[in-house]
């Protein structure tokens, strides 16, 4: 990280003290009618909205509605998405007539409204932006959108509008940096965005564009219970007074795109653990781009991340699971699934890799068989008898799991080998596990070095902006992707071992 000049920092303080806020309201009657109809339809469905039958079309409806009011989409994209949605509804109608006859009219009406929106689409947001930019010369302008996956569409539409201005399409993460624009154009109601966009503004002039039928009221939350009075009233108050919505409107939060439901994810995962032996205790993580993953709920376990917020010159690092926070970037294998260290470790071991892995799988398989046939209590008792100091259910589950290489203590390993009938080969197996362990450590170091070099060569800004970036390990058919963590589940659930580290995409 390079030193920040005081002049640059000054621009941030200058913005904070003297920013002006304005709002622009766009009107689109067809979109308003469609949005309200979708809302009514969802309320009418009531609990049935989470049925397998309705979930896909509700997701599509909400996605289209959100996209249309959160970014200046190109005409062709709107036509395409609308057509797909109409086809989806059309496919649903025959079964709807039989199973849900009361909702056929709703669906038909919504389909027609989708067609109206598409046919009459004028890209009012783009027109509004164009009006704002009119007359501006050589300005640094940021267009802030909520959803990173809409960046490329927004950039495409804004390209002809640049002129002599420098226009950047940004997401909220980028407005944490020490950067100051002449103007920020915010697309969407203020409540879609983190408070700091308005309380620690990165521009002297902020303009909020939103549709007339979305409520725009917002006021900054107090950070401290009792504050020392400032010279003048906080500019934040002036923001809320500017976005005074006279029309009835939809709540901004209800318009946000559907995200993976962590609770549902947890339930589905738990349902898979049909036997009590092969499971791992895990926690769910919602990631950027509608992805999710389960990681072991082991606070002392470690994971590789990129942390761009602490300003360290080594953003690629291994941290304890308990230190994971939203905003950090998890590094996960995206080709092949599972741990990305294993193929690199296998390469380090060379010709001895296959036999080493066989040894590893053999004693674990026998231990799992023991637990399955004799039960945990018996296994624990026998391990203790054979000299194990820490035999319990949690540790046995770890030892059985493919991702753990060996026990930490030789005494525990000896106990396991004796129990499963491999007492004549203890030292041989132990040495082999040590061999794997060393290879894994070397692989970890190599991967971290390689990733650090790639991260430093890549655009950190792009990673912050989009929340996802892919890296590849040279010489290996392995790709690793950095995903921003958006939410971490509090609940610990049981999942099948193969779920750990395996990416889940929102259906």
């Amino acid at each position: 990280m390079s030193q920040v000049n005081l002049e640059t920092v000054s621009s941030i303080y200058h913005c904070s003290g003297k920013s002006t806020f304005n709002s622009k309201v766009v009107k689109n009657t067809e979109l308003k009618l469609l949005s309200i109809s979708i809302d009514k339809f969802i309320r009418k469905l009531d609990e049935a909205v989470s049925d397998e039958y309705w979930r896909p079309v509700i997701k599509s409806l909400k996605s289209l509605r959100f996209e249309l009011c959160s970014a200046p989409l190109p005409n062709i994209k709107v036509i395409e998405n609308s057509k797909q949605l109409q086809e989806q509804i059309s496919d649903l109608l025959p079964t709807c007539t039989l199973a849900y006859p009361n909702f056929v009219n709703y669906l038909s009406s919504i389909s027609k409204l989708v067609g109206d929106v598409s046919a009459n689409y004028k890209n009012e947001i783009a027109i509004c932006i164009s009006e704002i930019l009119h007359g501006l010369r050589k300005k640094d302008i940021a267009v802030l959108i909520k959803e990173p996956r809409l960046i490329s569409y927004t950039e495409e539409v804004l390209l002809p509008l640049h002129g002599s201005n420098n226009i950047s399409v940004v997401t909220p993460e980028l407005l944490k940096d020490i950067v100051c624009f002449d103007k920020i154009i915010v697309i969407g109601p203020p409540r879609w965005f983190p408070d700091y966009i308005f309380t620690a503004p990165r521009a002297k002039d902020i303009i909020v564009i939103k549709h007339s039928w979305i409520k725009g009221t917002w006021s900054p939350k107090s950070i401290f219970p009792e504050q020392i009075k400032q010279r003048r009233a906080s500019h934040g108050l002036s923001l809320s007074s500017l976005i005074d919505n006279e029309e009835e409107g939809l709540e901004p939060e209800s318009l946000l795109p559907p995200i993976l439901d962590l609770e549902q994810l947890n339930k589905n995962a738990e349902n898979e653990t049909h036997n009590q032996i092969d499971y791992v205790e895990a926690r769910g993580y919602l990631l950027e781009g509608d992805w999710a993953v389960f990681l072991e709920a082991d606070d002392e376990g470690s994971v590789l991340i990129i942390d761009l917020e602490t300003g360290t010159p080594r953003p690629v690092k291994r941290i304890k699971m308990r230190e994971l926070e939203t905003g950090m970037f998890l590094l996960l294998r995206t080709s092949g699934g599972g741990d990305f260290i294993i193929p690199v470790a296998n390469k380090i071991m060379g010709e001895s890799a296959p036999i080493a892995r066989e040894y590893q799988q053999e004693w674990k398989r026998l231990l799992r068989k023991m637990v399955r046939t004799k039960g945990y209590d018996f296994t624990i008792r026998k391990l203790v008898e054979h000299g194990s100091r820490i035999a319990n259910k949690v540790n046995i589950n770890n030892w059985m799991f493919e991702r753990s290489i060996r026990t930490e203590d030789f005494a525990d390993f000896k106990a396991i080998m004796t129990l499963v009938g491999l007492q004549g080969h203890i030292q041989e197996y132990w040495e082999m596990m040590k061999h794997i362990d060393i290879a894994h450590q070397q692989a970890g170091v190599a991967i971290r070095k390689m990733l650090l070099a790639q991260v430093q060569a890549s655009s950190i800004q792009e990673l912050k902006r989009t929340g996802i970036m892919e890296f590849s390990i040279p010489g290996e058919n392995v790709s690793i992707t950095a995903f921003r963590i958006n939410q971490i589940s509090d609940a610990v659930v049981r999942v099948m071992p193969w779920r750990i580290g395996a990416l889940i995409k929102q259906e």
């Binding site: 003290g17 620690a200 401290f224 009792e226 400032q230 010279r231």
Partner: protein, 339 residues
């Protein structure tokens, strides 16, 4: 034995006005500009905090800022500046009496011109002229005899015992730079040569060190004198062993207080960022706190929650503190907590 907190009796110390008018920085075009208002605010804030003096109450000052960068560095600069004008804990006579009362064999550090040497208290002697001298052995066969007025050249070494070499050159003392002499004037040498743990900064260490590299200029009528922000901080790790320091800098991941060669607690701890405060606050429960929260930080509200909990346990009586006017964009809260 618990470390003593660096508290000295403050009886109306006279803190000269910080020479803001003379301090400049180089902007992106390499043109000298006056220190910005926000930096001036932070330095003034530090100076105001420096003279907080309540034995039974510790201060908590929380700031929510549009960016955390440089805030901790400038506040610490103000604190170290302000604290440097607080009189010594002991007067010259009291200090001489203290040194002269040390037991033979006590390890000490002796300032010999521009070098610091290890020594051991030997004995007191009374010369025929009636003067009292304290003898300090520096090497095998070499002693130094000092009169009471020279007592300030001697400080107690915190080590239990030391072995004297046959011959020692001592460690070079860095005397105060022209930049520091321009800012601190009469106090400059004492600021540079004497260790006092005035402050601790807990935060993202690499970012903090980046901030400390900020180049400054002291513009006088005669000339421009370059310096760095780090010269106000005098962090422990930048200085070779034995050289005076005023601040220690600790990582947000540290689970213990930093190991220092003196048994002293800082007067104030500056938590640079939400994570620093959340992770480390329990290590520094007996010190005054300055908590800097970046409004863009992902843990802002979580840190604010913890601060609110501290606030609920505050003392009711008002804290008298002459704080500078808070600039727009910065939210602030101050209260006292019983120690």
């Amino acid at each position: 034995m618990a470390n003593q907190t660096n508290k000295r009796k403050i009886t109306n110390p006279i803190v000269p006005i910080f020479p803001f008018e003379n301090l400049f920085f180089l902007n992106k075009s390499r043109v000298a500009e006056k220190l910005p208002d926000w930096a001036v605010f932070y330095i003034k804030l530090g100076i105001a905090l420096a003279t907080f003096d309540k034995d039974d109450i510790r201060l908590v000052l929380a700031l929510a800022t549009p960016t955390r960068t440089h805030a901790a560095a400038f506040i610490t600069a103000g604190i170290n500046y302000g604290r440097s004008f607080i009189p010594q804990e002991k007067t010259d006579e009291e200090y001489a009496s203290f040194i002269f009362s040390l037991d033979p064999g006590t390890p000490v550090i002796y300032r010999d011109l521009d070098r610091k040497k290890n020594g051991v208290i030997e004995k007191k002697i009374n010369s025929p002229d009636g003067k009292e001298y304290i003898g300090i052995q520096l090497e095998k066969g070499q002693w130094k005899y000092l009169t009471p007025d020279k007592a300030r050249l001697v400080t107690v070494d915190e080590r239990e015992c030391i072995r004297l070499p046959a011959h020692q050159m001592g460690r070079q003392i860095t005397t105060s730079s022209r930049f520091i002499r321009s800012v601190f004037t009469a106090n400059a040498n004492e600021f540079t040569l004497e260790t006092r743990l005035e402050s601790a900064i807990v935060g993202p260490v690499s970012s903090i060190y980046e901030d400390l590299e900020t180049n400054l200029i002291f513009k006088s009528e005669a000339e421009d004198i370059p310096g760095k922000l780090s010269e106000f901080i005098r962090g422990y790790k930048e200085h070779p062993k034995g050289i005076a320091f005023r601040t220690c800098i600790s990582s947000i991941y540290a689970r213990k207080k930093p190991k220092l060669p003196i048994k002293e607690n800082p007067f104030v701890v500056i938590f640079d960022g939400s994570s620093a405060f959340i992770r480390s606050r329990d290590l520094w429960r007996n010190q005054n706190w300055v908590v800097i929260l970046d409004k863009t930080d992902r843990n802002l509200l979580y840190a604010a929650e913890h601060l609110t909990y501290e606030f609920l346990n505050r003392v009711e009586k008002a804290i008298k503190l002459d704080l500078p006017t808070i600039p727009d964009g910065i939210d602030a809260m101050v209260f006292g907590v019983t120690i």
